[in-house]
């Protein structure tokens, strides 16, 4: 999945204190390695890419993911001034069938 932060004019925001993270809850199966809670700074051209993978030997795994995109002021130890959330997204990794399906949840402004 790819996530883009855009301003009111529809322009993609690159840099400018934008950062993303995710939170994961395992409903069934094996906890994946995650970037949970780790800050992903604004990538080149502002395009965040969320990678989902499964191992061929993994059992059927269902995870609920929330993606958070925030804008931070240039001051250390301060909270995001604006925070958006996408999810919960339901991600089903079926290694036997060779599929990963993603049902995207709603996008909402937390503040």
């Amino acid at each position: 999945m790819a996530y883009l932060a855009i301003d009111q004019g529809g322009n993609i925001i690159e840099g400018n204190g934008i950062a993303a993270t995710e939170s994961i809850t395992v409903e069934q199966g094996v906890k994946p390695a995650t970037s949970e809670g780790k800050l992903m700074p604004s990538p080149e051209r502002g395009l965040y890419i969320d990678v989902q993978s499964t191992k061929s030997t993994d059992p059927l795994t269902v995870i609920k993911q929330k993606v958070f995109v925030g804008q931070f002021p240039p001051v250390a130890n301060t909270r995001a001034t604006h925070l958006f959330r996408v999810g919960p997204n339901e991600i089903t990794k079926d290694a036997k069938a060779g599929t990963i399906s993603i049902k995207i949840g709603p996008t909402s402004k937390v503040w």
């Binding site: 883009l4 950062a19 992903m40 925030g70």
Partner: protein, 241 residues
């Protein structure tokens, strides 16, 4: 810039850009006395909880998971103010199967004597002849390389347990550092892991876990190399309904 909107597109792509930021590791004496304030972390596994502590505060932590540990549960730190030593003492009081010790500037959390998993203990104490980490190595490559080394493979084969890599979810593949290199001619698995997380600018956590299906995981926790210091999503922010 004031407000922004979020847009998402259904693309499947896999390219990343990384850069280097320095990391500082507190000295051994400083580490135990490191001041912490308002540590609030809630996770599904003990590994994730300690990984979060490690990456948020830059504390190198290695964890040998206890055999009695639940695979998925509710684990939390709720620590108002004090030192790292006090936090860890509180942790082992609440999770009395564990003990902690600082070795070479790394906090090692492990099951108390008598309740350790013999295989995990044996693996951590096994000496590996030579380990070389080249630039641009990612964490899972190093973990796989260590666990398939002849010395560790011999131990695993004898016990009928295999190493398994985890699947992945997230915005970046954890790296050891774009310019991070390491050469160790002889050391136990534990000393090698401790050296990696004490010297890597990004990876600050390792965890060794045994699973019920005769497999085990070796994972690292690493921050993004470009992640600016001093900003983070607070636990309260992420938990808001």
């Amino acid at each position: 810039m004031s407000r922004f909107l979020l847009c998402l597109a259904g693309l499947l792509v896999s390219s990343y850009v990384f850069a280097q930021t320095p990391a500082t590791v507190p000295k051994q004496g400083d580490l135990a006395g490191m001041k912490l304030e308002n540590v609030r972390i809630k996770k599904q596994t003990v590994g994730l909880m300690l990984s979060e502590l490690s990456l948020q505060y830059g504390v190198p932590i290695g964890l040998e998971v206890a055999p009695s540990e639940d695979q998925l549960g509710n684990y939390a730190f709720n620590f108002k103010k004090g030192t790292l030593s006090e936090l860890l003492t509180q942790f082992v009081a609440e999770h009395n199967q564990y003990a902690w010790r600082i070795n070479d500037g790394v906090v090692n959390v492990f099951p108390k004597e008598g309740s350790r998993d013999f295989l995990l203990q044996n693996l951590l104490e096994t000496r590996i002849g030579a380990v070389q980490v080249k630039e641009k190595t990612n964490c899972s490559t190093l973990a796989a390389s260590l666990m398939t080394s002849p010395e560790l493979k011999r131990v695993l084969d004898a016990s009928g347990v295999t190493y398994r890599e985890r699947s992945f979810s997230g915005f970046f593949i954890p790296q050891l550092g774009r310019h991070f290199t390491l050469n160790i001619s002889d050391g136990t698995l534990q000393t090698i892991l401790n050296r990696v997380i004490s010297e890597s600018p990004t990876a600050k956590f390792w965890v060794l876990t045994r699973n019920e299906d005769h497999t085990l995981f070796l994972d690292f926790g690493a921050k993004h190399e470009d992640a600016p210091s001093g900003i983070r999503f607070s636990e309260e922010d992420l938990a808001r309904p």
